[in-house]
């Protein structure tokens, strides 16, 4: 504010930030090429790190001879599994992975050695000199093979190659089926998919031998896990490690776990007392994987005449890959979320997470929920058709009534699904158009939901869920210090808006510094859509605390009671006639005697949200709030080529409160579209465990050509505990696309697709089978 401009108290009012569509606070850097991602730090003298990867899927390591590599001029360090003191893994109960394999390799592409050299050519030459001797073991590339009788276990502790079996039996399932008008069962297969964030994984580690300190730049969604795993695997005290998360080119869950690349770069840096940069190729990024597992689901559902679901029984198996990773959580999520979208009291579940000799799966956007949602919404739709019920009506029949707890004790305080349904039904013209479209056209609907952060963090430490600091200094500048990783989802913008709103200031007054463990408070990271909800609340708390300090100072200065001070953002005054104090004057008053102020805010979940204990692992799924979405997909099929064209998607998403409607739209569009990729074109495939789709031609992320227009509607159910009522916005809309598409195919062709992605070859095969069956039928009729 210009000091010479006299303040007109009549015109001063707090600036609104919440609910205002605004561009990202870090947008200018991104559009100008100035944003630095991990690979963009060109440290002078940095060495090139490169990783040697296993050519075999399962083998006992006899020896890894690095002596020739070590003596190659230009090689500064060679690392093997022996350079680490511990294993890593995201779950404290399942740290089974060495940063570089020791004793055994379990998938093709697993790191077996690494070098740091003066340039990439030397590094590669050194890798070529490393001799790897091994004895092959039987390898399993499907879940079925891995759990067969008499298999060789991948891990000693898992003799049957089952990483985790989860089961529950809630209510009276068998009775539910008995009471049903119709009981149906279906089997649904989803191929493995990969996040394919545009930025390949990268890490840069610098080791200061004099001080025994390590600084790591990593392309991660959770710098905190990287920090913990560096301690764990290198045996270095946490206090000597600094982790920095620069700009991140997307994650979608692929970087929720700490990855090899960060650990290997660090080990090499420490070994050579230098700086080592490792930038993975796209192929290596595919091999690192941590995507969504191949999953086979058998679902049995009972439905009453009027469409009430009387019972659900789910059996599902995930091909998890060679290490535990998030596996246990993924299989638990599938169980806790499969029915909890609706009011269903009788549910049974058997989930199997299987270890196989393929790259480890992880947490992919919509973690654990997507493939079972596909099964559920498909079968529900099919049964509705069989009972002659409208798919919307069936869904309406099964809605929850908030506030409530689901049968597995998930706390639901806000539930905008009814409005979502109403909106997409109207927007898509469902009532007038459904069933009346031209041949080869179809409409399909499906619903989905997701958590707003897991109520129990993976690493339980007793600290609050989220902590945000705001620094206020002599210059009147406000800096938010947060460990919450901005990974492209817009969290920095949302946090800035939260703080701006509380203080009534324009967002441009506030700066934000994220994820540098040297200065920002620890944060649990960007996963399971926790940042807006949890860190948003912590930011509000911090800003509220800061505001109290400012009001107090203003009161002192104006010689009134704090209750009498009105905060108008740029002006604090007592009584409407008062000229008041400018924000700068208040800051001066506030700093008197105390100096620079750091206000802290925290957030904690409430025990009611912890998910109960009806079965082992029931806490997974527990969340402070759930987001809900409904979408209608319209398609046209080319009968000659079996190409499916998505004409349009109408989606409504209940995000509680759209803190930034522009960003919320962006998140919803991105989710729907990513669901489309999984449903239609994307699939990782293996040839004897060797990833055969490890590039962006054979792994088909949709291009702009076939990507449909998406009409987004925001529903605001105002969650009682959410920051300004907000909930999750970036995941729930993904899962709905898959069944909405296959339901649309059923509408167009009267064919139920149960295997995804539904690529043209798969669809044509099903269309042919149908034609053949019809012909056979006709023949039989003729002969009869």
């Amino acid at each position: 504010m210009n000091e010479t401009t006299p303040i007109d108290p009549e015109k001063i009012e707090p600036v609104k930030s919440i609910g205002v569509p605004m561009p990202l606070v870090d947008g200018p850097e991104k559009v100008s090429g100035k944003a630095n991602y991990t690979a963009d730090f060109l440290e002078h003298g940095a060495l090139v790190g490169r990783i040697l990867r296993s050519p075999v899927a399962h083998a006992e390591i006899l020896s890894i001879d690095t002596s020739a590599a070590e003596t190659l001029p230009g090689v500064e360090a060679v690392a093997t599994g022996a350079d680490f003191v511990g294993q890593f893994g995201v779950l404290p109960i399942a740290r089974t992975e060495w940063p570089i394999a020791r004793d055994r390799v379990r998938y093709r592409g697993e790191p077996i050695a690494a070098v740091a050299a003066i340039d990439v050519e030397t590094a590669q030459k050194a890798l070529d000199l490393i001799e790897f001797e091994y004895v092959e073991l039987p390898a399993y590339f499907t879940a079925e093979d891995a759990i067969a009788e008499g298999v060789t276990p991948l891990h000693e502790k898992r003799p049957n190659n089952v990483e985790r079996h989860v089961d529950y039996d809630l209510g009276e399932v068998d009775k539910g089926f008995e009471e049903a008008e119709l009981v149906c069962e279906g089997t649904y297969d989803c191929a493995e998919v990969c996040q394919v964030q545009t930025e390949p994984h990268a890490a840069m580690a610098a080791y200061d031998g004099e001080r025994d300190r390590l600084t790591v730049h990593a392309s991660t969604q959770v710098p905190y896990y990287v920090h913990l795993m560096l301690e764990q695997t290198l045996g270095m005290p946490k206090s000597r490690i600094r982790v920095i998360k620069p700009h991140i080119g997307g994650g979608f869950g692929s970087r929720t776990e700490c990855l090899h690349v960060e650990l290997i770069a660090s080990a090499l840096a420490r070994k050579c007392n230098g700086t080592v940069r490792i930038i993975l190729s796209r192929e290596e990024t595919f091999v690192t994987h941590r995507g969504r597992p191949e999953q086979n689901t058998t679902l049995k559902m009972g439905m009453s005449k009027d469409g009430r679901i009387t019972a659900v029984d789910t059996t599902t198996t995930q091909r998890g890959g060679a290490y535990a990773g998030y596996g246990t959580v993924t299989i638990l999520y599938s169980g806790s979320m499969v029915f909890a979208l609706y009011d269903i009291q009788n549910a049974r579940y058997n989930g199997y997470r299987v270890l196989t000799n393929t790259p480890p799966c992880g947490a992919f956007r919509g973690h654990g929920t997507v493939n079972v949602r596909f099964a559920f919404e498909s079968l529900m739709d099919e049964m509705a058709t069989k009972l002659g019920l409208d798919p919307f009506e069936v869904r309406r029949k099964n809605l929850l009534k908030a506030p409530t707890f689901t049968a597995n004790d998930l706390m639901v305080n806000s539930y905008g699904l009814p409005e979502c349904l109403d909106i997409v039904e109207k927007a898509s013209g469902w009532k007038d158009r459904k069933g009346k479209l031209a041949p080869f056209r179809g409409l399909g609907i499906a619903c989905s939901h997701y958590v707003s952060g897991a109520s129990k963090p993976v690493n339980w430490t007793g600290e609050p869920h989220a902590t945000v600091n705001i620094k206020l200094d002599f210059d009147g500048s406000l800096t938010i210090l947060t460990g919450a990783p901005e990974i492209g989802q817009g969290s920095s913008t949302i946090l800035t808006q939260c703080v701006a709103e509380v203080l009534g200031l324009d967002v441009t007054r506030i700066r934000i510094l994220t994820s540098d463990s040297l200065v920002t408070p620890k944060d649990n990271g960007a996963y399971s859509s926790r940042v807006t909800y949890m860190v948003g609340n912590a930011a509000i708390d911090a800003a509220t605390n800061l505001k109290a300090i400012l009001v107090e100072a203003a009161a002192r200065k104006m010689d009134v009671q704090p209750e009498d001070v009105e905060c108008l953002g740029e002006v604090y005054r007592a009584g409407s006639q008062d000229q008041g104090l400018t924000f700068e004057e208040v800051v001066v008053a506030a700093l008197e005697g105390t100096g620079t102020i750091t206000a802290r805010g925290n957030f904690d979940t409430i025990p009611e949200s912890w998910g109960g204990d009806k079965y082992r692992g029931a806490a997974i799924g527990g969340s402070m709030a759930f987001s809900y979405a409904a979408q209608v997909v319209e398609i046209e099929i080319d009968p000659d080529t079996a190409d499916i064209r998505v004409e349009k998607v109408w989606v409504a998403h209940d995000c509680g409160k759209a803190l930034n409607p522009l960003a919320v739209e962006g998140q919803i569009e991105g989710s729907v579209w990513m669901g489309m990729g999984q449903a239609m074109t994307e699939e990782t495939r293996y040839h004897k465990g060797l990833g055969i789709t490890g590039n962006m031609l054979d792994y088909r992320v949709p291009t702009i050509i076939e990507s449909p227009p998406i009409e987004t509607h925001i529903v605001e159910s105002i969650d009682p505990h959410g920051p300004f009522g907000a909930k999750e916005a970036g995941e729930a809309s993904l899962a709905g696309f898959l069944p909405a598409l296959t339901n649309a195919i059923a509408d167009a062709l009267d064919i139920r697709v149960s295997e995804l992605p539904i690529t043209p070859d798969r669809l044509m095969e099903i269309m042919e089978e149908k034609k053949k069956a019809a012909r056979k039928n006709a023949d039989q009729k003729v002969s009869a």
Partner: protein, 161 residues
């Protein structure tokens, strides 16, 4: 063996000696130090490395630096004028055409190439023109809106001038 090359890079003439096997993207990022141009794939599949050569979009990851002798190259770093975003950059910023921003330099350069040839593209022409660039965040909805907004801004500036 090195090749001597002379090029105009973002309006400035420069001379370099580069190995024959050096990719333009590595030359830009590691030799010149301009890291705005990104690498998202192992060659030609994602469009993150798109730059303009003689005004036409091209993959810097499939182009040899030594083959750029005598050419005029423009990268994302060239677009701002007077410290302010260009119309296309502003479009991507304000319409949220950039989420994580990693595809953005390539997208913006592809859009730059497109709008120079066709100042007023239809939605379909935008799709066709940007079809070599993959974005994993936006679903492209807001990328199309960004390019449309930029085209409008350019048109309104021109009619004002």
């Amino acid at each position: 063996m090195k090749n001597f090359i002379s090029m105009t890079l973002n309006g400035r003439q420069r001379d370099d000696a580069v190995p024959g096997n050096m990719l333009l993207v590595d030359f830009l990022r590691e030799t010149v130090g301009m890291t705005g141009t990104k690498i998202g794939c192992d060659g030609g599949e994602c469009g993150c490395c798109t730059v303009l050569i003689a005004g036409k979009p091209r993959h810097a990851c499939l182009t040899l630096a030594a083959s750029c002798d005598g050419t005029d190259i423009e990268t994302i770093e060239s677009l701002e004028t007077g410290g302010r975003l260009s119309a296309i950059q502003r479009g991507f910023h304000e319409k949220l055409g950039a989420q994580c921003g990693f595809c953005t330099p390539g997208m913006v350069m592809a859009a730059e190439g497109l709008l120079r040839e066709n100042a007023n593209p239809s939605e379909d022409e935008i799709r066709q023109g940007m079809a070599a660039n993959i974005c994993r965040c936006t679903g492209y909805v807001k990328i199309i809106e960004s390019v449309q907004a930029a085209a409008e801004e350019i048109a309104s500036k021109e009619s004002a001038a």
